[in-house]
């Protein structure tokens, strides 16, 4: 399975605004897998992430991604974006 192969790599997860505040870091490195498993791993390490996670959107290698089953390969980048509040 692709999941097994990908799991050998590491994924950079960049956290912004309220998500960064919840996790306490602007970047964490987790094992490759699905987008859902990547987020689950962050939540297991940083329980406060659970509060903001449901309101976030995600970028997978700079492209918007809302499919929690999407594969996140080793070397990929995930961005965690809380609701925007510009202007």
């Amino acid at each position: 399975m692709a999941d097994v192969l990908d799991a050998a790599g590491q994924v950079e997860v960049h956290l912004f605004a309220a998500a960064r505040a919840a996790v306490g870091a602007s970047m964490v490195t987790v094992g490759a897998g699905s987008l859902g498993s990547v987020l689950d791993e962050i939540e297991s390490r940083h329980p406060e992430f659970a509060g903001v996670r449901p309101r976030c959107s995600f970028l997978l290698d700079e492209v918007s991604c809302s499919d929690l089953h999407a594969l996140v390969h080793g070397g990929s980048r995930v961005d965690v974006l809380p609701p925007f509040a510009g202007g």
């Binding site: 605004a17 309220a18 700079e62 809380p82 509040a85 510009g86 202007g87």
Partner: protein, 164 residues
């Protein structure tokens, strides 16, 4: 006359190729995400054009109150893609309305109370289109721009707006 700057540490230009917009569309004369003071008057001068019959401008300023609480300090954080998203927003507005020229800028970093966070100016031939396009531009920036607002209140508490 295209003008772009690289503002705060959080900002880079992901898509440098968007700037020229000729043919039947209007000119996008400035798109900027910056940590410097914004100047709506400078934007009005930028969109000035001998073909224009109307210029509408917007300045959104940060206030010292939010939902009845006193704000002490206020900081905007931008995603690295913010300036390229702003450029896409400008292009979409330019395509939707009959625009002669437009300019838009968003500030990031700490913003003193009373200073502008978002400024925009639109020049058109007729006034109705200028109001409609400027308002749509501001609305779309608010919807799409990956920017976040952090408020610290006088009572010492803080919040990320829209995440409370």
């Amino acid at each position: 006359m295209k003008h772009f700057s690289h503002g705060g540490l959080l900002v880079y230009r992901a898509d440098p190729g968007f700037t020229v917009n000729n043919g039947p569309m209007g000119e996008i004369r400035q798109v900027e995400v910056t940590d410097r003071v914004l100047d709506v008057r400078g934007l009005e001068a930028l969109v000035d054009d001998p073909r224009a019959g109307a210029v509408v401008s917007f300045s959104g300023t940060v206030r010292d109150h939010d939902h009845g609480r006193s704000v002490a300090t206020l900081t905007y954080e931008g995603h690295p893609s913010a300036e390229s998203v702003l450029a896409e927003v400008a292009k979409e507005i330019d395509a939707r309305f009959d625009i002669i020229a437009l300019a838009v800028a968003h500030r990031v970093g700490p913003i003193p109370i009373g200073e502008s966070a978002l400024v925009a100016a639109v020049a058109t031939a007729h006034r109705g289109e200028a109001f409609a396009a400027c308002q749509a531009l501001v609305d779309l920036v608010k919807e799409r721009l990956p920017v976040w607002k952090h408020q610290v209140f006088l009572d010492g508490t803080d919040e990320w707006v829209n995440c409370a």
